[in-house]
């Protein structure tokens, strides 16, 4: 903006335009800075993708004989090897999400709309504290404490609901995918709770009062004004949690007894393995082509995470008109 009114400005025209120029320069500087920050994200993303592609390539194009030379890879092709790993990764993460989301939404609603302020605050801190626990500690907790504790429950499940294949053939100790998912659920609970709580707190007072004034009970008010408003936020939160569960390494590695099958026996050990835990367990002894093969599985994980995020965006965008953002 240039100064046009000489009566209001005591500065000389030269000084005024000098000031304007420096302001313009600082504006351009900030533009450059934010543009650079934006571009750096793309560069890092591209660098990671390029690394994965280049390093995975030798394994992707390798012949059957070459792959057979890798001691732990007894599959007819790389795709056949990765398939069960992708399955195991998705299964454990989706199960974790199924456990975590309802609990997280419940806690978030309790904190934002039901609890007295003092309790709500304390509970909020506690949930945030869960997020600060390192995953290796969760692994130890899951392997040493949770497994014996959850054992009678799994027994009961297998004895009473064993006719459903999902719950058949429980074999102690509980080193199965359901135990791993339980720990994963605890690990992703804080992030989903924290994001959901923030979204629920932002539900417009205006709409909450509209619902109450129509004669809604508190739960009906939550259903009419808070949950629909928070829907996209809860989806984003779940996807953040899913992202963490998909990539989680230590906890799964320490709990699950690995297997490479497309199996829905949730209580049987030696059925499943996740990509991340598999890389961590194989990497120390890998060399040559086997490293490339492991990186190829990493590429698969990267693609899955990417797809999950795109899916979440699409779900959110689909009902944008009704989101209340306009």
């Amino acid at each position: 903006m240039t100064v046009t009114s000489p009566t209001r400005s005591p500065r000389t025209p030269a000084a005024a335009s000098g000031g304007t120029r420096s302001r313009r320069r600082s504006g351009r500087g900030f533009y450059g800075l934010s543009l650079g920050a934006g571009i750096s994200i793309l560069v890092v993303l591209a660098a990671v993708a390029a690394f994965l592609l280049i390093e995975a390539w030798p394994a992707i194009v390798a012949s059957r004989e070459e792959l057979d030379a890798i001691s732990w890879l007894d599959a007819s092709s790389l795709a056949v090897y990765i398939g069960p790993l992708i399955f195991g990764t998705l299964l454990s993460s989706v199960l974790a999400l199924l456990f975590a989301v309802p609990i997280a939404v419940g806690i978030a609603l309790f904190i934002s709309h039901y609890a007295p302020r003092a309790i709500a605050q304390a509970l909020g801190y506690l949930v945030d504290l869960l997020a600060a626990i390192p995953s290796v500690v969760y692994g130890l907790w899951g392997a040493l404490w949770l497994q014996p504790v959850i054992d009678p429950f799994f027994r009961w499940l297998s004895d009473n609901l064993g006719f459903i294949p999902l719950f058949a053939d429980y074999t102690p100790p509980a080193r199965n995918v359901l135990a791993a998912s339980t720990v994963l659920a605890v690990m992703i609970l804080p992030i989903i709770t924290a994001v959901s709580r923030e979204v629920f707190l932002q539900a417009p007072r205006l709409h909450e009062e509209a619902a109450l004034a129509l004669g809604a009970t508190r739960w009906e008010m939550v259903r009419m004004a808070v949950l629909p408003f928070g829907r996209s936020g809860v989806i984003s939160a779940s996807m953040l949690g899913l992202g963490r569960a998909l990539g989680e390494t230590m906890a799964v590695l320490m709990i699950i007894s690995p297997g490479y099958l497309f199996s829905f026996f949730l209580l049987k050990p030696g059925q499943h393995q996740t990509i991340a835990a598999n890389i961590a367990s194989k990497f120390p002894e890998a060399s040559g082509l086997s490293v490339n093969a492991l990186i190829a599985t990493g590429l698969a994980l990267f693609t899955i995470t990417f797809a999950v995020n795109m899916l979440a965006r699409w779900v959110i965008a689909r009902r944008k008109e009704f989101s209340g953002a306009n």
Binding site: L206, A210, A213, L214, G215, F322, S323
Partner: protein
Amino acid sequence: MSKRIDVTDLNVYYGSFLAVADVSLVMEPRSVTAFIGPSGCGKSTFLRTLNRMHEVLPGARVEGKVVMDGTDLYGANVDPVEVRRQVGMVFQRPNPFPTMSIADNVLAGVKLNNRRISKSDAADMVESSLRGANLWTEVKDRLDRPGSSLSGGQQQRLCIARTIAVKPQVVLMDEPCSALDPISTLAIEDLIEELKSDYTIVIVTHNMQQAARVSDRTAFFNIEGTGKPGRLVEMGDTSTIFSSPSKKATEDYISGRFG
């Protein structure tokens, strides 16, 4: 479908702060009662006690009696949720539910009472409520569009349609036109004139011309200073209040000498 409300010795508190003191007045059925007064005099706070919306704020409470149809709305075994189904409310800023379509907005309150409402009943109710709010002709071709796609004035009439769809006895309006342009304001005022044949209407307004145009009775609230409670100064027929008020403060306010 229209009931009289008797308020006796009502004190309204926010925590320990007395916001409105000693209000006693009567709102007649099938008429429009307007509350006027300077900002902060407690007229909106008082209005919100009439459907027990005041107490949704933490620490807010009420002493005194609000009697509708022989029952004290603040009686021990009266459910505030029930009260709000009888006494509807339209807010200062239009607040249709953004996640619902126009039709669903109209049915929002109805569905609380009656989950299983047949498709044809629902359609009839949407039409009659929207007609009642003078909005039908404008939106009948886009009932499945979001409520937030309407203009401000249309949104406010949608909120009125939503309120009258539950067939309340009383409709409270908290400065319903303050966020609207003059043409939309006129539409709402016409609507109030029509609604009064079916409902007891209580309206808070900052606009004295509006009070003079739409109301039958007017109550003037005033506050002596900050930290003091708001009080009812006088109440009477709108024509009397605006031509020959009995209190000096009322005359000063309506003639624009303060406020």
